[in-house]
């Protein structure tokens, strides 16, 4: 058996290194903006995150990419809190790419608030300290007699006030203080109070420009035909009919790439407008050499998983005690399976590129722009400094835009055209050429002693690793196994978690809630099954395995993350209490519970779901209660948004989300076959937040993973245990 160290998701590593670097180098970025002697003073910008002009207008720069998760509200709130300004008068702008150290724009893993909290507080506090000092200097009073309030400095003995705008020239001349004092959380005026998201009015009037709405002067539009099988090659194409479509400007072929993004060979139609390109696409005849891996199917993949589930795992992920030699008084084994999933952002993938000689300029939404630029430079033959990046707003991301296959394609197409080109993926492309959440399969085995105490827990995860795509099958980095042990908080003396990789010819990527979601469904279902077998109450059984366990670290490494079983128990108890778990239930009503630690983002959440059975395997979700503990909440309304969205995302997965593959081709081609949760299917939700001043965790993903297991546990309580998602494949229906 191969033994390797568990590794966290690649982009998480990138982000944490980057944020560490930024804290140290805080005073560096943007300092060039300080006024130099003799230059005209226009504004005060101590660092890259905020600028105050002479009229007192405060602009806060957001380094993270907005895709609906609310970073463009939560992050500026943190700055504004320390800066003491009226948040509603603050202007929020995306920090231009290149104004911050590499990696700072990385957006993912629910890391934005978690990674930026301290930095942004310091940014606000430093600026405030300098403005106060500037006021004290101009008034010739002691700095300790001055304070900041709503964009003004107040001389407290006289109540004399001066606006920040009038202080910027004086403040810009001052040295950056080496130390600042941050506010005590009890003095927060903004953090912890709900704010509507930035740019709301523009969204509601249709003015907001997403990637697809971006227009660059002289721009043409392209759509592409891609090889239906990953790894296939373009043989030839016939464009005699296609190029006659009015509006078609040029038809070009481009070569695909290998890792990390696996761009397919393609033929692009460049046209004056999208419709002409789409019409011509239908008329293009392309011959492909599909290669040798053109017969793979998900049916066979799941058969392979099942046949290997009883084998020794290929990789040992985590071991505690000696589970192989436990002889318990009773035991249980169960298998669970989950399919490939697509991101299905409402705004399909798109990107703009312009190439002029050895220079390249790109426009669009990217969650990991630095890595994208590195890769584009390598794949397309540019020097990194010759690529100019214009980041844009995303109409949903959910991890899809951590990947940048579409950006490489756009540049490859633009290299063959003398004007900027906007590459548009149609919905079929977006569904079939995605970066799919890996299909996965789990075998769980547990044993207990004669008192019903759990003595061993074995979890064999079988999957199609993302790392095989990003780094190649030779990789030692198997990210998806993380959740199998990292998020596991139940106190069992003997534990073994292992992972077996099965390669499969389809591109894979990170999807919101990543491996935590992959593992929470089997783990929380199986705990429930054990409780049932032992005739114990699922809530009390879980609490007995959590409540007395002290906080622990997942490994000996310096970066090992801390876990709190007590907080996992805390959210579970709260959700159970609020749904009335101990109260008598109406006839045909059943409650299911699930809890977890979203370890990467220091968040804990549980769901309690009540279903009413209205027929054999037919149900109605009557209540959903979520409880969350994510430390200090920045914007409660933003948190609620994410929990509501998490429920929709989790329910889509539980009920109907599934990508199937036959002959190495995705069988779904859009929303008719890859269905999303609809308006009428959204059950009511109550969210309860555990008040906390602990370090603020990320909330973008924590609300997803416990939805499916809580629902399945409710259905199991009603007599039907689903072990495969989506549950409609097991004959369930809902009203």
């Amino acid at each position: 058996m191969q033994k390797i160290k568990t590794d966290r998701r690649r982009f998480l590593k990138l982000s944490s290194l980057a944020s560490g670097g930024l804290v140290l180098g805080f005073t560096l970025p943007g300092l060039q903006a300080l006024a130099l002697p003799g230059e005209e003073c226009t504004h005060f910008q101590p660092g890259a995150y905020l600028r105050i002009d002479r009229k007192g207008l405060v602009t806060i720069f957001v380094a993270k990419q907005e895709s609906g998760q609310g970073v463009d509200t939560a992050l500026p709130m943190i700055v504004a809190e320390e800066l003491e300004v009226d948040f509603r008068k603050v202007k929020v702008e995306l920090a231009p790419f290149g104004t911050l150290p590499a990696g700072m724009h990385d957006t993912g893993g629910s890391q934005s608030v978690l990674g930026m909290y301290d930095t942004l507080r310091k940014a606000g506090a430093i600026a405030k300290a300098m403005l106060i000092q500037a006021a004290a200097n101009s008034w010739k009073v002691n700095v300790t007699s001055c304070a900041a309030d709503m964009g003004e400095v107040v001389h407290t003995p006289t109540m004399k006030r001066i606006g920040y705008g009038e202080l910027v020239c004086e403040a810009a001349k001052l040295p950056i203080p080496a130390e600042v004092t941050l506010k005590s959380p009890k003095d927060f005026k903004l953090i912890g109070k709900s704010e509507k998201r930035s740019g709301l009015k523009d969204i509601l009037t249709g003015k907001t420009k997403y990637g697809l709405d971006t227009r660059v002067p002289g721009m043409a539009v392209a759509v592409a035909v891609r090889c239906p099988v990953l790894g296939g090659k373009l043989v030839s194409y016939d464009d005699t009919v296609a190029k006659k479509v009015p509006g078609v400007l040029k038809i070009v072929a481009y070569k695909g790439t290998g890792k990390p993004m696996h761009v397919r060979d393609g033929v692009a139609i460049i046209a004056t407008h999208t419709w002409a390109a789409m019409k011509a696409k239908e008329m293009l005849t392309v011959t492909w050499d599909e290669g040798s891996r053109n017969e793979e199917s998900t049916v066979t993949l799941f058969e392979t998983f099942a046949s290997k589930a009883g084998d020794t795992p290929g990789i040992e992920v985590f071991k505690k005690g000696d589970p192989g030699n436990v002889k318990g008084a009773g035991k249980l084994s169960a298998d669970y399976a989950q399919p490939f999933l697509a991101h299905a952002t409402m705004e399909p993938v798109n990107f703009i590129a312009e190439v002029k000689g050895d220079k390249c300029e790109i426009w669009g939404g990217l969650q990991l722009p630095d890595w994208a630029v590195d890769t584009i430079a390598k794949e397309c033959g540019f020097k990194k400094p010759d690529i100019k990046v214009n980041l844009g707003l995303m109409g949903g991301a959910f991890g899809r835009r951590l990947h940048f296959d579409f950006a490489i394609e756009a540049v490859k197409i633009a290299q063959q055209f003398d004007r900027p080109v906007q590459l548009v993926w149609d919905r079929v492309d977006d569904t079939q050429f995605g970066m799919f959440r890996p299909a996965n399969y789990h075998r769980l085995d547990a044993q207990w002693d004669d008192k019903g105490k759990l003595v061993s827990w074995k979890h064999h995860v079988l999957g199609t690793p993302i790392a095989y795509m990003i780094e190649g099958p030779e990789t030692k980095n198997i990210g998806e196994m993380d959740g199998a042990d990292a998020g596991f908080c139940y106190d069992v003396p003997n534990i073994h978690t292992g992972y077996t990789a099965v390669d499969f010819n389809i591109n894979r990527g990170w999807l919101r809630s990543v491996d935590i979601c992959v593992n929470t469904f089997p783990v929380e279902s199986f705990v429930d099954e054990i409780a049932g077998k032992l005739k114990k109450d699922p809530l009390a059984f879980r609490l007995s395995l959590l409540e007395n366990r002290p906080d622990f670290k997942t490994g000996a490494e310096a970066w090992a993350l801390s876990q709190s079983p007590a907080r996992v128990a805390g959210v579970l108890k709260l959700a159970a209490e609020k749904i009335g778990y101990d109260k008598p239930r109406k006839p045909n009503h059943y409650i299911g519970l699930a809890t977890h630690s979203f370890i990467f983002a220091k968040g804990y959440a549980a769901h309690a779901i009540e279903v009413e059975m209205v027929g054999e395997k037919k149900f109605r979700i009557t209540r959903v209660v979520a409880a969350i503990d994510c430390g200090q909440v920045i914007n409660p309304d933003g948190l609620l948004n994410q929990m509501e969205g998490g429920l929709a995302f989790g329910l889509t997965q539980a009920l109907k989300g599934e990508i199937t593959i036959k002959d190495s081709r995705v069988m779904q081609d859009g929303f008719f076959s890859y269905e999303l949760l609809m308006y009428s299917e959204m059950p009511p939700l109550e969210v309860h937040i555990i008040p906390s001043e602990a370090e603020p965790g990320g909330v973008g993903e924590v609300g997803v993973s416990t939805v499916a297991p809580a629902l399945c546990n409710a259905l199991a309580a009603a007599g039907h245990r689903p072990r495969n998602l989506p549950i409609r494949n097991e004959g369930f229906s809902w009203v």
Binding site: Q69, M346, E347, M394, G395, G396, R427, E644, A648
Partner: protein, 154 residues
């Protein structure tokens, strides 16, 4: 290339386009009115919804040729400043996350409420199932619809 005279948001536009070009692409690519969004092109997601002669229409399904002499209203035509009762309700309920589908959601609601100021829950469900939201803002859409109904009936 044929010429078409369209009335969008009470303004006349002359466009040159193939007769089968969907209204969606006329709005977005020829008139640069990008508030109407592309989501699927096959009537499966509803984010391209506009109002034609008072009826909600997926603009990806209507050819430019079929829109002549019709009154087309897009999100840009609800109000310049977000003061339409439905936009105000959306603001009050804080509906959008990514926001991409919201123009389509609002256009369906505007059309629904213009026909019936007190739609039943069943009607609302039926109409709103026409527009998908991957961010899952459905709770707030429900809340906003009821705020809009209240304000229209007060």
């Amino acid at each position: 290339m044929p010429q078409f005279s369209l009335t969008v948001n009470n303004k006349k536009y002359d466009v040159e386009a193939p007769a089968d070009m969907p209204l969606l692409w006329v709005l977005r690519d020829l008139l640069n009115m990008t508030g109407t969004k592309y989501g699927c092109g096959v009537a499966s997601c509803g984010v391209c919804s506009v109002i034609i002669d008072g009826n909600p229409v997926f603009s990806c399904q209507r050819t430019v040729g079929s829109c002549v002499n019709k009154k087309i209203i897009t999100i840009e035509g609800l109000s310049e400043d977000g003061s339409h009762p439905v936009q105000k309700a959306w603001e009050q309920a804080g509906v959008p996350q990514c926001g991409y589908c919201q123009p389509g959601q609002m256009m369906q609601v505007v059309a629904m409420l213009e026909k019936n100021k007190r739609p039943s829950e069943e009607t609302i469900d039926q109409v709103m199932n026409n527009v998908l939201c991957r961010c899952g803002t459905y709770h707030r859409i429900r809340k906003a619809i009821h705020l809009a109904i209240d304000s229209l009936n007060s």
